[in-house]
């Protein structure tokens, strides 16, 4: 990073001072490291535009296990469920029951006893129909889930 000017003779070296640049970059890295929020693919899907509800509360992490369901504007489940054919409430219910059982087994293997607190998080697109949202919620209920969350935006993006 040193540029030498002139040829031969007495060498005049022009050094670019990189220290401030490096400082700024390291500070930026620190900022991103602190605020980083690694999300699973199913927790965040760009294809889903959430509706705005001002009365929504900030996110918390009180549950032990989570199941994320992303519903696009056409009422189809996307995200990590893209590859599955869950076109009927029965298929969705069966899938959710399997997921629930699997999460419970994992939690028990970790030594958790009693009722495992599993929350279904529904990220429904603002343009999907209420009947489509209801169908998913209804399937969750029939699959035996007791708690659910509807994800929304607290302010317009």
């Amino acid at each position: 990073m040193a540029a030498s000017l002139g040829g031969g003779g007495s060498s005049n070296e022009l050094d670019i001072n990189l220290t401030p640049l490096l400082d700024v970059v390291l500070q930026l890295i620190m900022f991103f490291m602190i605020t980083v929020n690694f999300v699973r693919v199913d927790q965040f899907d760009d294809r889903v535009a959430l509706p705005v509800a001002q009365s929504a509360v900030p996110l918390d992490a009180t549950a032990e296990e989570w199941i994320f369901l992303n519903l696009n504007s056409e009422g189809k489940l996307v995200g990590n469920l893209d590859t599955l054919t869950l076109d009927t409430p029965e298929k969705l219910k069966a899938h959710l029951m399997r997921e629930k059982e699997s999460l419970e087994n994992v939690a028990r293997a970790k030594g958790k006893a009693g009722d495992i607190k599993i929350v279904v998080v529904l990220r429904a697109d603002k343009n999907c129909r209420y009947s489509e949202v209801w169908q998913v919620v209804d399937s969750c209920q029939r699959a035996g889930f007791r708690r659910w969350q509807l994800r929304v935006m607290t302010k317009p993006a």
Partner: protein, 194 residues
């Protein structure tokens, strides 16, 4: 970052700390964090409970042709005899006044003691005005003597877009109601319950 150790001006050894690779690495790290950065501060949630299985299929007539796993739902007492906000929507591919497919066409309010719902807003007013009117009506009801129950059920048409349902939900919350439940859209409703 560059140290020069000179020995009485003759010759001299330069021990430079090469910053370039470090800077490269720092830039790579920064690029990674920028790409994986997800500002989730704007995202919030609405918590909900689903009826436990013990409250399902305990009451209500069941149609003979109803699927065997489609139970009637017996509601817990706190959700009975509550105010009902009914939202009718413009059906798919149709328009009503200035409202188009998926927008609310009529918002109605049904008190537990009233036999019929009362229309609060329709397509004659804008949606914003209609929702403000709904909020003021709900506030009025809440202030009435003997209005102890602060529960609301929202019954929306299946064609209603999710964003409008959230706006109705907001209007109820702003009015001061705490327990707001969603009722199955008419076409999805199981026999004998909500």
């Amino acid at each position: 970052m560059r140290r020069k150790y000179t020995d009485s001006g003759v010759g001299g050894v330069q021990m430079g700390l090469i910053v370039t690779p470090m800077l490269d690495m720092a830039f790579q790290l920064m690029a990674f964090f920028i790409m994986t950065y997800h500002p989730s501060a704007l995202e919030g949630h609405i918590d909900g409970n689903l009826l436990p299985p013990t409250l399902i299929a305990t009451k209500g007539p069941k149609a003979a042709d109803a699927p065997p796993d489609l139970p009637a739902i017996d509601e817990p007492p706190q959700f009975q005899d509550v105010l009902m906000v009914i939202v009718k929507s413009v059906a798919k591919g149709q328009t009503e006044g200035t409202r188009v497919d998926g927008e609310p066409s009529r918002v109605m309010l049904k008190r537990p003691e009233a036999p019929q719902p009362v229309t609060v807003s329709d397509t004659d007013t804008t949606l914003d005005e209609g929702l403000k009117k709904l909020t003021s009506e709900l506030k009025k009801i809440l202030k009435e003597p003997g209005a102890t129950k602060a529960n609301i059920k929202i019954e929306a048409d299946g064609d209603l877009k999710h964003m409008y349902l959230m706006r109705v939900y907001d209007a109820c919350k702003i009015a001061g109601y705490q327990n707001i439940s969603f009722v199955a859209p008419p076409k999805n409703r199981p026999v004998g319950g909500n």
